[in-house]
Amino acid sequence: MTDESKKPNLDDLQSRLDAARAREAQETGRDRKHGSGGRNNNGMGLGFRIAIELVVNIVVGTGIGYLLDRWLGTRPWLMVVFVFLGAGAGVMSVYRVAKGFDDTVGLGQASRRGKSE
């Protein structure tokens, strides 16, 4: 084991660690921020994801429409509207998955980030 007198200073250790990490980031050429891409790179995972996004968005849209109808007593009109809005949201989600954008809220922001990368 190490000598008591040569016990490493934690601050010193931290600075050396930071330097090493910066070096590693430079060498591997990737920023670890927003490292969420690259998952779902197998075909089955991607297929699952697209199917689930499409179906779930339509179901949730229909559900919201149904509940609003029950609340406002406008059956069945809001439900009809929300089925289509849900389909729109589903297609938007699938588009985002297919384009490989991140999963944050808002297509506009995600696509801007996706292009700048």
């Binding site: 969420s36 998952r39 699952f48 919201i64 809005l85 729109g88 999963d103 506009g108």
Partner: protein, 240 residues
Amino acid sequence: MANPVEQFQIEPLVPLHIGGVNVSFTNSALLMVISVALVTAFLTLSVRGRALVPGRWQSTAEVFYEFVANMIRDNVGSEGRKYFPFIFTLFMFVLFGNLLGLIPYSFTYTSHIIVNFGIAATVFVGVTIIGFMRHGTHFLRMFFPHGAPILTAPILVPIELISYFSRPFSLAVRLFANMTVGHIMLKVMGGFVVALGVLGILPFAFLSAITVLEFGIALLQAYVFTILCCIYLNDAIHMH
């Protein structure tokens, strides 16, 4: 051939009714208790030595810790550090649920959509509250993209809202679908092994490969579930 969906049957072990509500202790609950006990035992016992140079068990525990810590740092940033205990618990609970389900004759509680939805809804409600607490009503700006014509708001805002509300559902359904499909596939293939006699060696080989794949999926889905929670948390904290 055994019914391939029989494995998802919930059976009450200790029937219990309180005020007309069925709160029986089921096989699902038993597996949850086992997984919580295992996680707790694994993490507390393995780091008990507190060695500077970790042994095998301590290294394993540290791998999990660092994995989740890195995930939070990469996706949420340093502000997400205070949510580490929750995210870590989430990850270990889902991971152990997936892995314990692969033991023959056990039960996979993550193959029940209501369990996943319970977890996902907790995350969703929590993240929304965090968002409103940190940004107030400014949080609602997230649902309308910058620079879009104001006339498109009646269409864009509901679409973004629906897509926001479908998050816990898609989170729950994805874990549920992956787990259920994998287990049904294992069961059906297992039925072929018995039914085909000597030729059963072929599905048996396939079954072995599928089992390895299922271990991979168990890890991957726990990872995906947790990282999506991190991304949602990042949304609420930073809002871009």
